[in-house]
Structures are given as C-alpha cells and as structure tokens.
C-alpha cells in the first residue's frame, strides 16, 4: 500500500502528511508531536487517546488517519495551555483530580464533548460521559467533582 497525502487540521494548524492506510490517527498525531494524546492500549479500551474529531470525542487509536483527512481535530493541548488553561483543565487541577495524569488529557476531551452538548449535566451524566476513560489513580471522585464545578461556575 502506497502512502497517500492527507491533510490533518490539528488544533487550528494544518499538516500535510503522507501516510499509509494502516496508520491510526493516534500514531499520526503522536508522530507529529501531539504527545498530549496518550497511548494507553491502542484498542479503544482506555480512552487516553481521546480527541475531538469534528467536535465529537473519539478514541484516536480506533480512527485511521485517512478517515480524518480534512477533518478538524482538537487535542487536550489545543483546548488550553498552562498560561491559558481551559476551565475544565483548571478545574481538574484544582479539584485534586489529577494524580499520575496520564488519563487526564482524554478525560478533558470527554468532558469538553459532554459540556458542549449538555452544559448542566448531573453527576450521573458526568460519570457516564467519562465511562470510556479509565483512571487507575483517583477512583474518579475528584475528577467528577472537577467537571461538576465547571458546569456549576457556568450556571452562575
């Protein structure tokens, strides 16, 4: 299989890359330096590689790079930086929901997708929204708390 030239629009930057058909979006993103997209299993089991693909949260290990040709991709690093964090990132840091942190970029993406479609979720809806993102450190409680605080601060 020959490589094909595709366009990946990542965090507002356009990349032209020649990739073979079997390269996953996860691999493509990490090779381009978007290492905030974490590789936890490459089977869609853990959610650490979640990104927004045209606004929808997907596990980038389950998407082929070719399928993302021309699409808008947003990673956790595209939502905020240390100087200008996204409120979700700020809230997770403040709530104590970040321990080893390896799952957090994926959880930020899942939370962003949730709050975009449902700005005032219940705790149950928050838990449901991040149920595809495994975390082994926190027991999820302070992560859920962080996301809840974002939703709350938007209400006021």
């Amino acid at each position: 299989m020959e490589p094909r030239l595709i366009t990946l629009n990542i965090n507002g930057r356009s990349h032209q890359v020649a990739l073979k058909s079997n390269v996953t979006l996860l691999r493509a993103l990490r090779d381009l330096g978007y290492t905030d997209v974490k590789n936890g299993c490459e089977k869609g089991d853990c959610g650490a590689c979640a990104v927004l693909l045209n606004g929808r949260a997907v596990n980038s290990c389950l998407v082929l790079a070719w399928q993302a040709d021309g699409a808008e991709i947003v990673t956790a690093a595209g939502l905020g930086t240390v100087d200008h964090p996204h409120p979700i990132q700020e809230a997770l840091a403040d709530s104590g929901g970040v321990q080893c942190g390896f799952c957090i970029p994926g959880i930020v993406i899942a939370a962003k997708a949730l709050l975009d479609r449902n700005p005032h979720p219940t705790e149950e809806e928050i838990r449901e929204a991040i149920s595809g993102n495994l975390c082994r450190c926190t027991g999820y409680a302070l992560i859920v708390e962080g996301i809840r605080r974002v939703a709350e601060s938007r209400e006021s």
């Binding site: 089977k43 650490a48 859920v144």
Partner: protein
C-alpha cells in the same frame, strides 16, 4: 511552628495543570535525533527448552540496526533483589537471565532484542528471529509445585522463601479456646493496569555515560543496570520522568536493561515502549495466595490463638516474592493482640507469570482472610463484629506477633466507628435484593524493612532572590510526592509555595532518595527535606538575630519575610537576609541524609524482631445490595477512615484514599487475571476489567490526624494502606446480605450464586 501556613492545606499540586493541558513529557513522549525503536521477542511457551536461536534473517532485514540474543550479551544475568538497598542483605538466587538462552520459564520471558529505524521494521524483525523451542512440562499450581516429582522451575526445588512466626504456646492457646474457627481463603492474580505502559529512551552521551529516561519507581536501578552490563555505576544515569502510575509494577526493572543494551550496542538513542498486551505479559502481578486460618477464641470474644498457613504463587522467578511473603507473614495476625501465634508462609515457584510488588505488598491478602475470620467469629459467638474486634485490637504500647512494640497512636476503634457511622441510614431490602453491611480493620506498615538500612537524601537551597530549589531523587508516579516536599520546604522556610521548585529525579542531579515504594517517600524524603530546610532556617534566623538584636527563638519566617514574633511589623524581606548571608559566605544550601531506624533481621525460626518503622491503622466500611437471583452486587455506599498522622496536603491524601479504595473495590468484585496453564487469558483492558467511573459511587473519606507518625510533622503513610481493608469489608458486607460465607476473590455473580447454592 504549631500553626501551619502551608502544611495541611489542600493545595493544587504544581504538576497538576501541566498534566491537564498535556504539557508533561512522559517517558514515551521524549524524542531524540536519530532515535531507533526497540522491540522485545518473548517466549510463546510457559516452559520450554530453547534448542536454537538464529537471528540471521532478522539482522539481514533492511532498517534493522541491531539484534541481540543472550550470546551477544555474554549470557548476562540480572539481580532482581529488593532494589535500592544498602543494608548488604542481598539474597542468593535472586538472579534472572536478561535474555533466555537454554530455557524459558514463563510465557512472555524475553529471548531477544531488536533495534530498528522504525517501529514497524522492528516488529517485522521479531518475526524473522528463528527460535526453536522444545516444550517442557510445566507446573502451574503452587500446591502441585511443592509435591515430590513436580517439574522443577529452577534448582534446587520450587521453594522460593519460607517465613515463620512462633510466639507463645499455640497448643495451649487452642486448648484454652471455647471455639475454633478454621477456613481456607483464596485470592487471584491481579494486574497493576497503570494507564501508562512501560517506556523509556536511552542514549550514550559524550562522556560514555548511558542515559536512561524512563518511567520508574526506582532511580537506584542504575546500579542494577551497571552490574548487569559489567560497567561502573558512575557510567549509568537514570532520569525519572513523571510516571503514569506504578502501584508497585514499576518497582522491578522493566525496560531499563534492554534500553541500555540497545543504546550501548548501537551507539544511537533508542526508544522502547511496551504495548498494553506486552505490559500485561511482561511485568509482575499481585500474588495469588491460598491461606488456611485457624483462630481460637473464648466465649467472651478474646482470641487465644491464631494459626495461619500462607502459600503464595511466586511465578517463574523470585523477584520480590521473598519480601512480599515476609510482609504477609508479619501482617498475618491483623491488628490484634494475640498471645499464641503460629504462622508458616511459603512462596512457591511455578511457570506462571512472575509476581512481585503491588500496592500493599502482601498486606491485602491476609487482611482478606483475617477480617473474614473476625466476622465469622462474631457470628459464631452472637457478638457484634465491632465488639469482637474491640476486645482484641492492638493498643499503643502493645507488642505485635513479631515482637515489635507499637509506639504510635492506634485509632482502630475510632476509625471503624467513624467509617460505619458515615454509611448513615441503612438501605432497606427489596424483593430479591438483599442489602448487607460490612467493615474491615487493618494495620499496614509504612517505610521499609529496617534491616535494609533505608536512607533518603534531599538537597534544599535558597537562591539570592529568596526562591527555593529542592533536589531530591524521589520518583513521582502520581501520588504528589514532589509537591508535598515543596510544601514542607515552604512551611519551614516561610517561602510562598509558588517560590519553591522541586526537580524531577535524575541520578546526575538529584541526591539519591530511595524508592517510591513501601509507602516510604513522604516518611523518608519528607524528613530529609525537613532536615535540610531546618538547617537553612537555623542559619537564617541566627544571622537575623544579630541584625535585630533578638534571640533566634523570638524570630520567625513566613510569607517571604523574617520578623520578630511579638512585633511582626519589625521585619526584613527574606531576599535581603539571603543576600546578607551570601555576602558573608554563610551556607544557604544543605544536603540532608535521613536514616530510618536500622535493625538486624528477624529471627528466621521465630519471626521475632523489629521489622518496620511504624504502622498505619484504619478501617473501610461498605454497604452493598446483592441480587439473590442474578448474583449481581451493587456498592451502595462506602467510607474509608484512616489515621494518616498528619495530612500534608489533604486533597492529595483524599485522592490517595479514594483511589486506593477504588482499586480495593476492583480487587473485591471484578479484577481477576485469569491464568490457565501459564497463559494469561485476560491480556487486554477489555478482558482484564478495572473499575470505570460508573461502577462504584464515591467513597467518603474521613481523615484522622493523630500527629504520632514517624513522618514529617507526625505524618504516617497512606499510599498502600488505603487499599488493604477494602476487599474484606466488601466480602463481609456480601456475607451480611446473603447469610452465606465468601472465602475467595473476586466476588463475581457466579461466586455469589454458588454461595447461595444456586449453581
């Protein structure tokens, strides 16, 4: 410093936001120019003779730079004893082959290494290494492995370690009992399932030093790498990245030696990152145990004798099994005062995946057994489960079964009561749904075995502008270890927290601080930072006392100023004081060495001696609903109450406890690494299930702060203890619900239905 300014505040950890925005550079996020990609060829058999290894076809593949087999590395062996120890107590027989050459002892054992220009080429090269195996009979059950004539995993027999406790007169103890409760308990293999698989990058620098940037809990593995490769220890440098979880699985060497070999042989930077399947195949597991418990008790609830036979499956190599089985032995009695104790523990080699450190390190397995026993005793005597425990709980000043006097507070009763109270009103049964409640108490050591002569070093220094640098080689696998060190220095030096920086560990730059294992890092490195900062504080206050013409004891440091306590308006900005000290050549940096108490090993015949610096005590309580038709269990409420001594960062402590509780709930109800004939049948995260966000509700956390621990400001350790009491509490709750005994983990619907006689 009775009124803390920074200690005890739920501060935001300095690493949290960087992780949340994806800016933290983990082990596999690091790239070097000209970097090669490494891969490991692993045995497909759990027990086999290697007839021949032929790497020629792989070497001929374009893009392959290096293929290494045992023959290419001098049949090197690696010492896999407890890492980072300086107590000169290394065990014989702790060596494992780096790469197998004559036989393989477990499925997944490393046989060859490849480095290639791309990962894809490296993967293809693995397929081109021709290895001819002759399968051999294996042994997959520790009971079978102890029988005469069983296949021998390694010479001379399959016994990896034996430990015993002999205290009092066990016969007399049972003779004095009105009732003897005897049962056998079984717990499974458990997988760490940290989110970040093992990874690292290595290169040889311009001095000829091998640099390894890696996800690890143990910086001191640089010594193991040097010894394995036969090079001086000062030629290996380890840089510890923020690790994506560890839980004991990154205590043993993972990728370090492989990376060093490939970097040395290619003289190019090499990356090695395990896939999830490889991670599950290649690293240690929690030990399955078979535990026979016999407890004699008086009608009034007083325990007269405890006998335990513990059998641990060590898997195919010893690794830390001798130590895990020792911990299990020491903690086998639970937190109870028992005059007559007889414990026999054996760790047995099999051709199963090797077992080693996992949060709790031999504590959680016996806790499951002794806390189930305590509920059985209560039931048999018609007593309340808390009442029967109260009668037997250890108290400060009591002696453990291994002869150690407990010095710190023992808040067992309070923690159990508080955890139970936190459950609130009892949920009523409805139809086939039976609701049950249970709790468990525990004791768990923090700090290492005292005959390892454990030390930690920390360097603390003030810059001329009054900011602080901490150099301390403490790996941070997620617990916030480094952030807590910043709080301690901030408190002692009166410097705002944001003006303190702690570097991530690097053997070239940070003094060695020992392993992030054994719930020791806050205790050991916290004390080292406290010592170093206190020394600088003394220098500052002595110099300031001359300036103010006041006694140093009448001065204090806070908010970046030195001031007179009774007249705080008379003050000086800290940077001014620092510059005065610097101009006069006064020391503004200090390297402290903190030593745990040093003791000799326990008596091998009786188990008597001082083993640990101290213990943490606490309880977990839970309410469950059991569907008696389907066997399904729902956790309705849970609460954890632990005496943490002093919560340096309450947010971090609560996070540790909630995380440990969740891992414990997984251990209780779902986690089971199924191994059949040496083969892992659950090699992915869709087959090996860990708790998700929708499985269990939030665990309520109640912190007790006795201030009596041996850590800084009276802190105790909580990393491992958080997990220990959870599974037995859940089991006790299920038993309370269904009225039938549960004696194994995990408590699946099938197990519940079997207990109910419905299967």
């Amino acid at each position: 410093m009775a009124n803390f300014k920074v200690i005890g505040r739920p501060i935001r950890r300095f690493d949290a936001l960087s992780k949340a925005v994806g800016a933290t550079i983990y082990a596999d996020d690091y790239k070097m120019p000209g970097m090669l990609h490494g891969k490991v060829l692993r045995s497909p058999y759990p027990s086999a003779r290697i007839v021949r290894i032929d790497p020629r076809r792989a070497r001929a593949l374009p893009g392959v730079v290096c293929v290494l087999t045992a023959a290419d590395i001098g049949y090197a062996k690696m010492v896999a004893d407890i890492p980072g120890q300086t107590g000169q107590r290394e065990r014989p027989q702790s060596e494992t082959p780096v790469l197998a050459w004559d036989r393989v002892r477990y499925k997944g054992e490393a046989v060859a290494l490849v480095a290639a220009e791309t990962e894809e080429i490296a993967e293809r090269a693995l397929e081109l290494i021709d290895v001819e195996y002759e399968p051999l009979p294996g042994v997959f059950d520790p009971l079978e492995a102890m029988k005469p004539g069983a296949p021998i995993v390694f010479e001379p027999d399959n016994i990896v370690a034996r430990w015993r406790i002999r205290k009092g007169d066990i016969e007399a103890g049972f003779a004095a009992a009105d009732l003897i409760i005897e049962n056998t308990y079984r717990v499974p293999f458990v997988e760490h399932a940290y989110l970040e698989p093992e990874a690292g990058v290595a290169w040889v620098d311009e001095r000829g030093v091998i640099n390894i940037r890696v996800s690890t809990q143990v910086m001191e593995h640089f010594r193991t790498v040097a010894r394995t490769l036969g090079i001086p220890q000062n030629r290996v440098r380890i840089q510890g990245a923020f690790a994506g979880g560890g839980f004991g699985g990154k205590e043993d060497i993972t990728v370090e030696v492989f990376l060093a070999l490939l970097a040395l042989h290619t003289r190019r930077p090499v990356r090695l990152a395990y896939t999830r399947e490889e991670s599950i195949l290649a690293h240690s597991k929690r030990h399955p145990f078979i535990m026979r418990y016999r407890i004699g008790v008086k009608r009034n609830g007083r325990i007269t004798a405890l006998q335990a036979d513990l059998i641990a499956d060590s898997g195919a190599y010893p690794y830390l099994s001798p130590y895990v089985s020792l911990y299990a032995t020491v903690m086998a009695t639970g937190p109870y005062r028992i005059d007559n104790v007889w414990v026999d523990t054996v760790a047995v080699a099999t051709n199963n995946p090797f077992t080693s450190a996992f949060r709790g390190f031999g504590g959680p397995q016996p806790c499951f057994a002794y806390e189930r026993q305590m509920d059985d005793i209560a039931r048999a005597l018609g007593m309340d489960p808390l009442e029967v425990r109260q009668i037997n709980y250890l108290r400060t000043g009591d002696t453990t079964a291994t002869g150690q006097v407990i010095q710190s507070a023992v808040l067992l009763e309070e923690s159990a009561r508080r955890a139970l109270e936190a459950l609130g009103e009892r949920t009523p049964d409805h139809g086939p749904i039976q609701v049950g409640r249970g709790f468990a108490s525990y004791f768990q050591s923090y700090g290492r075995l005292m005959w390892l002569h454990d030390t930690s070093q920390a360097w603390v220094g003030l810059e001329l502008d009054g900011t602080v640098v901490i150099r301390c080689g403490a790996p941070d696998p997620g617990g916030g270890q480094l952030s807590s060190l910043c709080q301690i220095a901030s408190e002692v030096l009166g410097v705002p927290l944001e003006n303190v920086v702690a570097y991530t560990p690097d053997t070239a730059l940070t003094p060695l601080a020992g392993t992030t294992t054994a719930t020791r890092q806050l205790y050991m490195s916290g004390n080292a930072v406290l010592q170093a900062a206190t020394s600088i504080r003394k220098t500052l206050l002595e110099r300031a006392s001359k300036y103010f013409e006041e006694d140093p004891d009448d001065l204090d440091l806070a908010d970046g100023r030195v001031f007179i306590k009774r007249d705080p308006d008379r003050s000086m900005p800290l940077p001014d004081l620092v510059r005065i000290c610097a101009a006069e050549g006064l020391p503004l940096a200090h390297l402290a060495l903190f030593k745990a108490p040093f003791r000799d090993p326990i008596d091998p015949e009786t188990g008597q001696g001082d083993v640990f610096p101290d213990f943490t005590f606490g309880a977990f309580a839970v309410e469950v609903a059991v569907d008696t038709e389907t066997g399904q269990i729902e956790v309705l409420k849970s609460a954890a109450c632990h005496d943490v001594g002093r919560a340096i960062n309450p947010a971090a402590v609560i996070g540790q406890i909630q995380g440990g509780s969740h891992q414990g709930l997984g251990y209780a109800l779902m986690e089971n690494l199924i191994v059949e004939n040496g083969e892992i049948r659950t090699p992915s995260l869709s087959e090996y299930l860990i708790p998700t966000s929708v499985d269990y509700p939030t665990t309520q956390v109640i912190l007790l702060e006795s201030g009596t621990g041996v850590g800084p400001f009276g802190a105790k350790g909580i990393g491992e203890p958080a997990l220990t009491p959870v599974a037995p509490a859940v089991a006790n709750a299920v038993v309370d619900a269904i009225g039938k005994p549960i004696r194994e983990l995990p408590i699946t619907p099938e197990l519940v239905l079997r207990a109910l006689g419905k299967r």
